[in-house]
Amino acid sequence: MNETDSLDFNRRDFLRSGSLATLMTMLGGVELIAQTPSAPADADKPKGPRVKLGVIGIGPWGREILNTLARLPQAEVVAVCDTYAAMAKRGGTAAPGAAVTADYQTILDNKDITAVVIATPTHLHKDIAVAALKAGKHVYCEAPLAHTIEDARAIAQAAKALPGLVFQSGLQLRSDPQRHFLLPFIRSGALGKSVMARAQFHKKQTWRQTSPNPEREKAVNWRLDKEVSLGLVGEIGCHPIDQVTWYFNGLPKAATGFGSTILHQDGRTVPDTVQAVLEFPAGVNMIYHATLANSFDAEYEMLHGSDAAVMMRESKAWMFKEVDSPLLGWEVYARKETFYKETGIALVAGASKSTGDAPKEEVPFTNTPLSFALGNFLRNASDFTIAKKEFIESFGEDADALKEHLTKLARQPAAGFVEGYQATVIAIKTNEAIMTGKRVEIKPEMYELT
């Protein structure tokens, strides 16, 4: 029996994508566009030496990673690993020429491999990440880092102890140029006083994968098991929550949550519908809600300020100004579009359908956040490997000076071990709030890496 992907493109996605810009612009949104549009990922030659890497964990997301790496000229996937033969085999198909193995240690023992990407179930990250770092590999570890604070801390501390290696956590939006473009705009106070933040994930899907036997069932449906899964807020919510901590430049001090299993009553112990409120400093709260039972309005983040709100949706962003907010100046010339309002189904007698001359939506090509994140990881990994070699050739062995040199090396933007650890702590404590239906404090020392 074949296992179904939980990331299948479906009809809902198709219908939804056609009306995004329409929905936004009819609400009077001014689109915020990064000035330098990102080039397609199909560059002729690699930007720097190719990086030989291994990918560990070939589930649906692991295969998405392999497909993305296939479009990055700097990536050379030489090994793939999964403990389940069928998954490993699919990995081999997605990375032609790569060695296929069930034992990640063979990847770590391979001296030619300088970097690994870890995309196993969350609760299995720790042993692999720590071993990979000790084996001298640059590591890209998917977010959340772990399902317990203890494990997340072990990973982060192992990365901290080895500044000569690149450790990147899978908070891919931290590498997205569009998000970086927004950061100074928001931090400059263009939104006025911070009021609140919202984020949501609505997608009607089961998350349950089919499997041939009970043993495999437990392994493949780890996301539905509260013993090892952080649920919706951990697996999905960690990304928008991290974005809000980044933009607000603050960490939440408490979380209150609710969780219910509304639709998928199949024995799972992880709720399919959650709501959470995260308390940020100065009374600014973030509301997060996610469900696997309904798809309306899909996925986005919003930052609300006293002068304007910004919506971030996929790789686009819109600003909605208050009528009494000061003029920034440029918005007079900014692109605005108006469309005839069309949302839902109107049940009105005598209604006539009028589309007008709706201009064709221009969708500039852009890489996915995952592509930017992996691209930056590869660039940082090769820069570090080269910098270390060149330092030793220039000055000989001098561990302290080398450490200082590598610490000061300019990096492509990416979430490191600090960001990954803190986002994981937030995910764990928020999930705890959801599972208990209580307010859970997140003490400042929990965010520290001693």
Partner: protein
């Protein structure tokens, strides 16, 4: 056969020379590149704005004679000095930067690496052939001013250069070597980059200025192991 007096004189001279010459080779002092505040900076122009590139790695060595002013304030007479050096800059250590020192653009870095033919020639190399002291240090903290002649190799192409170099002894047999030289990209068969960017064609100027600050130090011999 009785030796003539002149033959004996020649013999003494020959003996003296034989005794002295091997010692001269052993009397040079080798100083190796040291990590620290060193850097190399390349400044250039374009039709859009001036640009700058910096690197923090300079490898190599200097070998100087016994009379070289290694200590601050040491007396020295202008003239040729015994010195030999080979320094290299790893091309991939160079990074374009903004005026405030923050990173500029990896796209520009990649264009630069390609123009410097990095896959074949991963270093810029300077070999010193002659050094002349022009001005001794005016005080203990002041530099000695030299004129250095040598050749520089960029992208596999070699050109002779002459440049002023200031050397400041820092004590403990450490030297800070500071210099600057104007070069032209075209002299090294490098076509000034003209990348097509959304705003239009950027045309880079041919002349560049290379500035460097290099630290070299004589490595101390390891302490002898105590006798058992």
């Amino acid at each position: 056969m009785k030796m003539k007096k002149s033959d004996m004189k020649l013999g003494y001279i020959a003996l003296a020379l034989a005794a002295v010459m091997p010692l001269q080779a052993a009397d040079t002092i080798r100083l190796n590149s040291k990590p620290g505040s060193l850097k190399v900076r390349i400044e250039g122009t374009s039709n859009i704005h001036d640009w700058q590139v910096e690197g923090k790695l300079i490898g190599g060595y200097m070998e100087v004679g016994q009379n070289f002013p290694l200590e601050p304030g040491k007396a020295a007479e202008p003239g040729k000095v015994e010195a030999k050096a080979e320094a290299f800059i790893p091309v991939r250590s160079l990074r374009s930067i903004e005026k405030d020192g923050s990173p500029y653009s990896t796209k520009m870095d990649d264009i630069m690496f390609e123009k410097l033919r990095v896959t074949e020639f991963d270093r810029v190399v300077f070999r010193l052939s002659e050094m002349t002291l022009k001005e001794a240090a005016k005080s203990k903290d002041a530099p000695y001013v030299f004129e250095a002649k040598g050749e520089v190799v960029v992208g596999g192409v070699t050109n002779a250069i002459t440049m002023p170099v200031s050397i400041t002894p820092l004590g403990d047999n450490q030297l800070k070597v500071v210099g600057s030289v104007g070069l032209k990209m075209s002299d090294f068969k490098i076509e000034p980059p003209a990348p097509a960017i959304a705003a239009g064609l950027i045309k880079t100027g041919d002349p560049v200025t290379v500035k460097f600050e290099w630290l070299v130090v004589q490595k101390k011999a390891a302490a002898a192991a105590p006798a058992k």
